[in-house]
């Protein structure tokens, strides 16, 4: 009775499940030997990763000059990829923090995978600002550490320094959040483990979790606290990243709307990435009952909303360029749309503005292949958004004499591919050895939103309001004893 939730709401867990069944469904793939497909995928990811390492080695050995960047376009794929990866991470935090605070039950099905994705994406993102440095061996100069060089300190005015703080804070909090949520499930794994090493390993990882009431209470408090900490981070990290551009003087960068524009874009691309990952994961690990069409539709709605926000931002940019009457601003956008890189802008508009409109159709929102396709399209679009902002603003800025074109060279491509390798290697290892769905959180909503439980609630809805209230009060009184 206390688990009553309106039957109008779609169930979050399909099929007839009990707690044990939930555990079985989610945990048992971990205990099996990895399948052929997993090995192929891991091999492929490792190959990409190795190619990335080779590309970075090449770049560090010979210098940034092996990239296509030049005297006018000083940042290109490196920072595009950085912003893109950081943006992708945002969905995870949004799901785990903001949706938790908003009491969105459906987050339980997707939060674990999304949080893992956040961490791996931020790890990938972090590679770019580090390896794009001309003298990466002196990267530690960017940290404000006490040193013997007199009063030599970092420049706190530089948004690049803010990035260091923002991203490292973000990574730390995300890891804490993700790992603290993992502990009860890892304990489950430990308890079920039969092999010695697995027992030892999961035992170590579970920090001695016993599942006492006090532990649960602390865990939930911690979850709430971290959610409170992470919520501003969702907004701040990409705001700070956007300030790399917004605080500059370059037309096309120097825009006050950048912080919200970037945050919306980040969530937009982040959810698309969650879709990509989960659609594959649920299929492979047979978790369709836990990641339901309802989940997918909910996320598609968010994609639509944030897509609308970025579209609004694009229109605002153009309007302000016209309205401001600033020749450089107008020039930047003229060249952005009608210059030699016109096709990048077309891709951006097609992927980010035009195609998400198809989600107005419920049928398409609930269509899995279409959603999967769209999730890829949105991420291509969002990559191009960053590329357009970074490269297409720089390549035709103030000085027409310095205008150039930019084309990437193989080590840049390789570096990007390498981060995919890193991302998928991490994700595959995670999906194999840890539960991709938070078992304990699913259990917590099972009786409210499980399909089989919901069916039982149909009877309750036949009652009159008075009867219903009375019964609820009665139940509360019982539990109070």
């Amino acid at each position: 009775m206390l688990h009553y939730e309106s039957a109008v709401r779609e169930p979050l867990i399909n099929g007839t499940k009990d707690y044990h069944q939930v555990t079985e469904d989610i945990i048992s793939p971990i205990e099996k030997k990895p399948g052929k497909l997993w090995w192929i995928a891991l091999g492929f990811s490792l190959t990409m990763l190795l190619f990335g390492v080779w590309s970075v080695f090449w770049e560090v050995y010979f210098g940034i000059g092996v990239w296509g960047e030049n005297r006018t376009v000083g940042w290109a794929w490196d920072i595009t990829n950085f912003v893109w990866w950081v943006g992708i991470g945002h969905a995870g935090t949004l799901i785990s923090a903001i949706l938790l605070l908003f009491r969105q039950g459906w987050r339980t099905g997707v939060n674990r995978a999304a949080e893992a994705m956040t961490i791996f994406a931020v790890l990938c993102a972090g590679q770019f600002p580090v390896w794009h440095m001309g003298r990466v061996w002196l990267a530690f100069f960017i940290l404000p550490y006490p040193n013997s060089r007199g009063p030599l300190w970092v420049n706190f005015n530089s948004p690049l320094l803010w990035d260091v703080f923002a991203v490292s804070t973000y990574l730390t909090v995300s890891i804490l959040f993700w790992y603290s949520g993992l502990i009860p499930d890892v304990a489950t794994l430990r308890d079920r483990a039969k092999k010695k090493f697995a027992k030892f390993f999961y035992g170590l990882c579970s920090f001695g979790w016993r599942g006492t009431a006090k532990e649960w209470q602390r865990l939930e408090s911690l979850g709430l606290l971290l959610a409170g900490l992470s919520t501003p981070l969702v907004l701040s990290v990409h705001s700070v990243v956007s300030m790399d551009f917004a605080t500059s003087v370059i037309p096309g960068w120097h825009e006050t709307i950048f912080p919200p524009y970037f945050v919306a874009g980040a969530i937009f691309s982040g959810f698309a990435m969650v879709q990509t990952l989960l659609i594959i994961t649920r299929k492979i690990l047979h978790l369709e009952d836990y990641v339901t069409l309802g989940h997918i539709e909910a996320m598609n709605k968010i994609i639509m909303l944030t897509g609308g926000i970025v579209a609004m931002a694009y229109i605002t940019e153009l309007f302000i360029a016209w309205y401001s009457n600033v020749v450089y601003e107008q020039g930047a956008f003229w060249w952005r749309i009608l210059g030699p890189y016109w096709w990048a802008y077309i891709i951006l508009i097609t992927c980010n503005v035009a195609s998400p409109q198809l989600f107005w159709f419920k049928k398409l929102r609930r269509n899995i292949p279409f959603t999967f396709f769209m999730s890829i399209v949105v991420n291509i679009g969002m990559w191009f958004e960053r590329f357009v902002i970074i490269v297409l603003s720089l390549y035709h800025d103030y000085m027409p004499s310095a205008w150039v074109y930019y084309s990437p060279r193989w080590p840049e491509l390789g570096f990007y591919i390498g981060t995919f390798g890193l991302f998928f290697t991490c994700y595959l290892l995670f999906a194999k050895y840890f539960p991709v769905i938070a078992v304990w959180e699913i259990r917590s909503v099972l009786k409210t939103s499980g399909e089989s439980y919901k069916q039982k609630m149909a009877a309750l809805e036949q009652q009159t309001t008075e009867e219903f209230i009375q019964e609820v009060q009665h139940q509360h009184a019982l539990t109070a004893h």
Binding site: N70, R71, M133, G331
Partner: protein, 1030 residues
Amino acid sequence: MSEKKYWKGLEELYNTPSYQKTVRNEFPEKLPFGEEVDKLMQAKTPRRDFLKYLGFSITAATIAASCEIQVRKVIPYVNKPVDITPGVPNYYASTYVQDGDYCPVVVKTRDGRPIKIEGNTSSSITKGGTSAVVQASVLSLYDTARLRYPMIQGKEATWEELDKAVVEGLRNLGGLPIVLLTSTLMSPATEQLIQEFAAKYPNTKHVTYDAISYSGLLLANEACYGKRAIPSYHFENAQAIVGLGADFLGTWLSPVEFANQYAQTRKIKGKKANISRHIQFESYLSLTGANADYRYTHRPSQLPAIVLNLYNAVALALGKPALPNVPTLQDDQLQKGIQRAAKLLAAHPGQALVVCGSNDPRIQIVVNGLNEMLGAAGKTIDWNAPVNYRKGIDSDMQQLVADMEAGKIGALLIYGANPAYDYYDAARFAEALKKVKLTLSFNDHHDETTVLCQYVAPDNHYLESWGDAEPKAGYYSFIQPTIFPLFKTRAFQESLLSFMGETPDWHAYLMKYWEPKLGGLVSWEEALQNGVIEPKQVTLAGLPFKGDVQAAATQLAAEKPQSGELELVLYEKVAIRNGRPANNPWLQEMPDPISKCTWDNYICVSPALAWKLGISINRFNENDLNRPVAKLTAAGKEITLPVLVLPGMPQDVVAVAVGYGRSQDVGKAAGGVGKNVYPWAYFNNTTQTFHYYQPAVTLTLTGETYPLAITQTHNSFEGRPIILETTQQQYNQDPGEATREQREERERYGGDQYATEGTLYPNLYDFPGLKWGMSIDLNSCIGCGACTIACQAENNVAVVGKDQVLAHHEMHWIRIDRYFSGDPENPQVVFQPMLCQQCDNAPCENVCPVAATTHSDEGLNQMIYNRCIGTRYCMNNCPYKVRRFNWRDWQGATSFGQIKDTGDMNSDLTRMVLNPDVTVRTRGVMEKCSFCVQRLQDAKLAAKKAGRPLMDGEAVTACQQACPTQAIVFGNVHDSGAAISQVRAENKETRLYYVLDDLHTLPNVNYLVKVVNKDPNDFYVEPVQHVLGK
């Protein structure tokens, strides 16, 4: 004394048993040696042995390690050489002389090695100006491809062996003549020596051959004035200047001198401008044409008709007799141009000058007649001081080659000339050379001619040489060595002396020659110190004119010029000139002032012709440096070269630069770059001179592409307030018009308080002492690029090579932006030197995460290389795009050892050119113009040591020093008497502006508006869109 008891504590006072025990025990706690102590004592290896082993192993390791270390000896001077203090530069006056090009210089040496060339301000000819070629000449001293020893039949020999063999050879020529083949020489002492040589070997002839010949002018002057010479030109006295295919600011005769004179007529003082008007007729877009007020293009074959028509139009205007039978010009534009030029010239008698680059003596006779008619003699043309810049007579060369072929030449001694490369029929010359009994080259490179010679007696570099020069009658200039010869080379003159059997002491010879003339050793030393001797009184004069203009005109008119659909012009580039300095990486990488292309030659075609060929350069592909390749066929020869679409080219003419396509033996930088087009020059039997054009060529695209390393691909400044220009008429009506918008904008935000009032963040820096500022006059800048190379030499700016220029990784700290406006077929051109603007509110400074770029209290935007980690954020945020990143290890400054070497720039030899005052940047760090901070520090130190404040003009930047037109003024803006302060005060309400001022970057570099002497109607021309917008 009382027995007073002092106690430390109660324990002592009462003297408890436990206290007694404690006192007795010296170490109250148990010592931390446990059983180990006992174990140690019983160890098998006792302490002594341990120490032995320790001692042995340390000694052994020390010895072993020290064997590996290379011993580098730092040897102090036992006797300090006179005048050399480590770390303190010495300056020596000298003279750059090459193929008749002349520039008096001051050579900066550090620790005994020359590292920088500066102009000699004592010279009234160049007034301290230099050119890019002169600036770069210091690098050729350290050219790894220089010949290092004498050779016989391609094998190393000693000088004794060579002398013996050559003398024997010269004595056994069987009566056949010896010919000394040189490029133009202007050394009086050398000429005397050659005469003495001729006396010793009576059958000796001296033939002068110039790769780019001025025979036509010499012969015409002989016919007109009885002197086979070229007069001094005085552009500074001209108000009306007409150039007929003469690139006098870039390559013609004496560009440094002319640029300076020309700029004097273009300077604006005060609110009334009265600058010269310059009209240029030409067949390709030259540097001079780019600076002209009016420019008309024509086919090379139309030049005679233009000259004749111009003559007649001027004659008509002045009421003088006209020439009969002058062919009419079909071209409306040219007609208009001739009318305009004639009107201009006729309105300025005695203040007019016409110069013509043609090598046809008949055309030059008509031009001489024209100048006479305009009263140029004694005003803008001076026959009192004829110049020795070019002396070659082409028919002499023709005769020589014919004689060689006929086996009539016994010995050919070649000095400075390289006919196997730059003679139009080089194959014929090479063949003929085989028939000469004795061939010898004095050239300092393994050039195309030298490799064919039996004997090679390499000359010194001019920085290793003694010498003299007489650029003009009565003007003398001296060359003194600034370093001991690096290799086993010997001055050309010493070789001659040796062959004559005399003591090979050229220095003594030179002193013997000059001392009596100058009146003693003191005067000689004084002359060396000053570098130049000039007449005290200068009077300009003409000569009686006895040229037969009529006859020349009749001949020209009677000739029906041959002309195909397309004509070809060969031209010299400002950097590579006739090809002599081709192995200089600095010059190869210097963007051509007009095309902005480096490391290549190419076919220049007009946009209209490109359109016809199916090439369209538009906004979508202008950045694509892979340019179409075309086959150029003329006179039975063909060549494939990339096509560069260049606004300002005539529709029916294509132009290709000479000086490229050098052989691999010349050096790494020159070898295989571009193609040689000298074979398309030809000898005209009627005029007896070389001509540098082809009247009928065909051009077909091959369908291939070829990458051209162009540094600037967008040609318009898009009407942005980067360039401000106006016309003289408008300037005189309203001098402040061009800068009004900017001044009003400043007025709105505090006027003089703009720096603090125009921003939300007014906490700017304090500049308590000096504050540096620079002013660049766009009206004086001709875009020659001397500053770019001077900066490169001064600041150790790296050469990156063609592939890296293609990637837009070039490193120049000061670049010349070249913008076109108006009609693409004949655009107006503006040049703008662009360097770090040293902003007081610099966008680059606040974005650096590690504070590697900061502001000094003298207003300098500083780069701290050691701190830079290379995020490139500053480069992105620089609105002027002047920051340069070390994309690769250009100069071997990183431990990784992955050097991106170009043209041997990093050999031990070439690195001797590096300026020790400037850090060689490692890869991965940002760099940019520093306002030559090392020079500023130097000047400040000198003032400090002298105990006085810094005076204006003591701190000079390299670009400012090199500029032939004094377009750059630099100094302390806090000194109200300084030139920079005066320029700014004078132009405050008129021409002074800052680039992108509305960004509130507060630059310390200002520009002065360009004022063009054009009618406003002709100045504002709408671009013709059909040509560019395919």
